[in-house]
Every structure is written in structure tokens, then in C-alpha cells.
Amino acid sequence: MNEKRKRKILDKEGIERTLKRIAHEIIEQNRGTKNLAIVGIRSRGAFLAERITARLREIEKAEIPVGTLDITLYRDDLTEIAEQPVFLATEINFDINGKKIILVDDVLFSGRTVRCALDALIDFGRPANIQLAVLIDRGHRELPIRPDYVGKNIPTAINEIVEVRIKEIDGVEEVIIFEAGQE
């Protein structure tokens, strides 16, 4: 078997710095945080969204609404996935009409999750625009979707797996890449 070891792409400090940079880019792009709202995709994207929001609040000293989106009910592969989906409530406790929404996820891969999230979001109202922020872009898009803010671009083979591990869920902070079946 291929003995290629799994590689660590980002460590705790790396993730922290990257999220901070994304926060700055969001502010630059939007000339401040006016009318901005952050929405994270469950589950890891939701925690990353919280952290980006905290950075934005720190830098701009402004209140920015943040919400969490569960996209399970919008998936196009519900009958194909191996494990049974358990979905949790979406928590968007603000009016998204006219808002500039920063959609946050951990890894951008096929783009199908983002497609679900866009459908789900639009059922909540009509935002002014939706921008996409991801910690990792690993390529292999299957839909015409591109990110506006990228933490790190990682060229990957299709059989490789990229995992973002965060303390809230996994107890550690790292981004690793390994071949399928290797873990």
C-alpha cells in the first residue's frame, strides 16, 4: 500500500491567523461591516463563522449578526450517504432581507454543500448579496461555484481527504490531508 504519510497543512496558530486575515479581507471588500451578516454551515462552518464574527467585531467595534445553517434537508444525496443524517435546527435569528451575507464553510470541494446552502438561505429571504468564505479550497468543483475569501488553496488528488479539526468538535485545532483508507 502507498505509505504516503498524512500531512498537516495548518496548525492552531495557522488557523487563527488565516481566520483573522479573512476577517480583514471581508472588511476591505465590503468597506466596513455595515449591513453585513455571517452565516456558518453546520457543523464546522458554524464554529468558524463564530470566530470570524468575533474578529470582525474586535476590529470594527460593531455588532454583526451571526447565524447557523443546517443544510441536511436540502442535500441532493440524502438517499446515497452511508450514515443516517441527523439534522439540527437552523438558527438565523435576524432578517436576511437586504443583508450582505458571508457564508462560511470549512472545506470547499465539489460545491454541492454550498449549492444547498444557497437554496436554504434564499428560502429565508432576499439578501443583497451572498459571499463565500472557506478555510480550505481543495478544488474538484462539480458546480459553477467560486469562493470570495479563501484561507488556503490546497491542490489535492480526488482520493485524498481534507479534514478540518477544531477544538469545539474534535478537541484539536489542525487541518490535515490524507489518502482515503489511510486514516
Binding site: 434537508l73 450514515e83 443516517q84 437552523t90 438558527e91 428560502d123
Partner: protein, 312 residues
């Protein structure tokens, strides 16, 4: 991440054959669906392309509408087959109808029938998933699940709560489904009603029996007051409605005398106002009858969702 039990059942026939974990999984999912129902567009595309048949051989407003709405909120297509209860007799005719249902290539059949075991029977003759929406005096699982969901929502953990089910226990599928669901989750269940409406050996289901309304009300956290099902009683089982009201009807006076001040009052509907519940209690502040109806759609969405995800 929280580990949850996987749902493996293709049919939902009763709460008797559900495990505690399965009940809790369904209720947890229902929480998510309740949030969906509160959205500006309370609809998700999850069951697009699925066909669900509502097959009701007994009158129903709440349950049928609730199932139909639940299916529509999940973007499934629904078909209603409403049959007058009189034209459906046990056995052959049901089987005949089953052939029609099969021919329609449906994914799920929701059935209500006056015969106990009708849903089970159907589940053995069709490929579709079957949900029991009430079979005779046997079970009505989604009603019990929405009752438990409402209790959890209003009070919290069901474990250790004292729940009194009051009324015509013998004719009540709601009572049976409630007893199984509640006792599995650790509630202390008391049943109360006239002796003629109490099934023999009901204690074997793990409940306490009393014929004294005062005792049923005392220390109860929840009252689930059943409907007096006059249409099911083939012969009179009590002296008269007035006597029933006097002995078992829940009114302000009885509550004041015996019950806790913040007792939660459930009723599966439709209410015989002034009979099992007095007007002021039915509309009173601890009555959660309308919450039950709202929650019913969320609980049924959870049931449709979980059954649809089972691979066969």
C-alpha cells in the same frame, strides 16, 4: 458530536415496538422540523419526488390534515383516499384497496382504520412504508409522540414526571400509545376512568390504576384528558354524560381542589366541550391543546423523514 441511535424501521406501526432511543431520536428531529415550520417559507425540498398516500377509513380532521401538511412541507406529493368507514370491512376489501395503492407506485402509506392491526396487515402486503394513523383501539403512535414532544417542550425531561391519563381508557388508542411511549421514557403513568372504561389487566403495561379523579389529579405534572368516544361505545358503559361530567369531567373546581397549580393539560382532540373538559379549562392557561396540534406537524415531518431515509 452527540451519538444518536440510527433509525432502521421501515414502518411506524406503534410506540410499543419503538425503543427509548428511537423515540428520542424522532423527537430530536422534530425539534429541527419545528424550526422549519417557523421560517418565512416553511417548506424544504427533502422529499421531492416521493409520493405519500393518506388512506383514511375513519373520519379525521386533525390527523389527516397534519400528515398532509407534513408531507407537503417536505415537498412530497400527497394523495388522499378517503373512504367512508362503513364501506370498509376487515380483510378482503382492505386487500383490494392495497392493490390499487401498489399500482400507484407510492413510497409511503398513512393508514387509519377502525380495525386494530390494519396498519400491520397493510405493512405485510405492500412494498411502501406504512405509518399507523390509528388502528381501532390499538395504537396511534404519532399522537403519543406529539404528546411527549409537547411535554418535553413545556416541562423538559419526561423521566420521573407523573402523567395521568383520564377518561375512556378501554376505547383509546391514544392512551395505549401514550402509555408505551411515556413509560419507556421513564414517566410514572396513572390511568383513571370509570370501571366500565378500564381494560382488565391494564396494570401489566406498567401503569397505576385509579377510579378516583382526586387521586389522578393529585401531584400530577401532566393530565392527558381523553375524548369520550361515544361513537365507539356500542353499548352504554356509564349512566349518562352528566354523571361522567360529575365524576370525571375536568373543571376549575376539581383542579383547584386536587391538582398542582401549574399542571399541564393535554387533549388529543376533538374536545367534547363541557364533557371531559369544561370550557374554561379547555381554553385555560395550562391547556396546550393548540400547541399539540402545531407540534403534530413537526413530529409527523420527523416520522416521514426518518422512514424515508431507511434503505430497503
Amino acid at each position: 458530536m452527540k451519538e444518536t441511535a440510527a433509525w432502521t424501521k421501515k414502518h411506524l406501526l406503534g410506540t410499543e415496538d419503538l425503543s427509548k432511543e428511537e423515540i428520542q431520536l424522532l423527537l430530536d428531529q422534530a425539534k429541527g422540523f419545528k424550526e422549519v415550520l417557523e421560517r418565512p417559507i416553511p417548506k424544504v425540498p427533502t422529499l421531492r419526488g416521493r409520493t405519500i398516500v393518506n388512506f383514511f377509513c375513519e373520519p379525521s380532521t386533525r390527523t389527516r390534515t397534519s400528515f398532509e401538511l407534513a408531507a407537503k412541507r417536505l415537498s412530497a406529493d400527497t394523495v388522499n383516499i378517503v373512504a367512508a368507514s362503513s364501506s370498509f370491512l376487515k380483510g378482503e376489501t382492505l386487500k383490494d384497496t392495497v392493490r390499487n395503492i401498489e399500482a400507484m407506485k407510492v413510497d409511503m402509506v398513512i393508514i387509519r382504520h377502525s380495525c386494530a392491526g390494519a396498519a400491520l396487515f397493510l405493512s405485510r402486503c405492500v412494498n411502501a412504508s406504512v405509518i399507523n394513523a390509528g388502528d381501532g383501539a390499538h395504537e396511534h403512535p404519532t399522537q403519543a409522540l406529539l404528546d411527549v414532544f409537547t411535554i418535553q417542550e413545556k416541562i423538559g425531561n419526561v423521566k420521573g414526571l407523573k402523567v395521568s391519563i383520564i377518561g375512556d381508557i378501554a376505547h383509546s388508542r391514544v392512551a395505549r400509545s401514550n402509555i408505551w411511549a411515556l413509560t419507556k421514557l421513564g414517566a410514572n403513568v396513572t390511568v383513571c376512568g370509570p370501571k366500565t372504561m378500564m381494560p382488565v389487566e391494564i396494570e401489566r403495561l406498567g401503569v397505576k390504576v385509579t377510579y378516583d379523579i382526586g387521586e389522578a389529579l393529585r401531584d400530577a405534572d401532566v393530565l392527558n384528558v381523553l375524548r369520550l368516544q361515544l361513537e365507539r361505545q356500542k353499548q352504554p358503559v356509564f349512566a349518562g354524560t352528566r354523571e361522567y361530567i360529575k365524576c370525571f369531567g375536568i373543571n376549575k373546581e376539581k383542579l383547584k381542589e386536587h391538582a398542582k397549580e401549574d399542571v399541564l393539560i393535554l387533549h388529543p382532540g376533538p374536545v367534547n366541550r363541557g364533557v371531559e373538559l369544561s370550557q374554561d379549562v379547555a381554553d385555560g392557561k395550562y391547556s396546550v391543546i393548540l400547541d399539540q396540534v402545531t407540534n403534530g406537524v413537526a413530529v409527523r415531518m420527523a416520522a416521514l423523514f426518518l422512514l424515508s431515509m431507511v434503505k430497503t
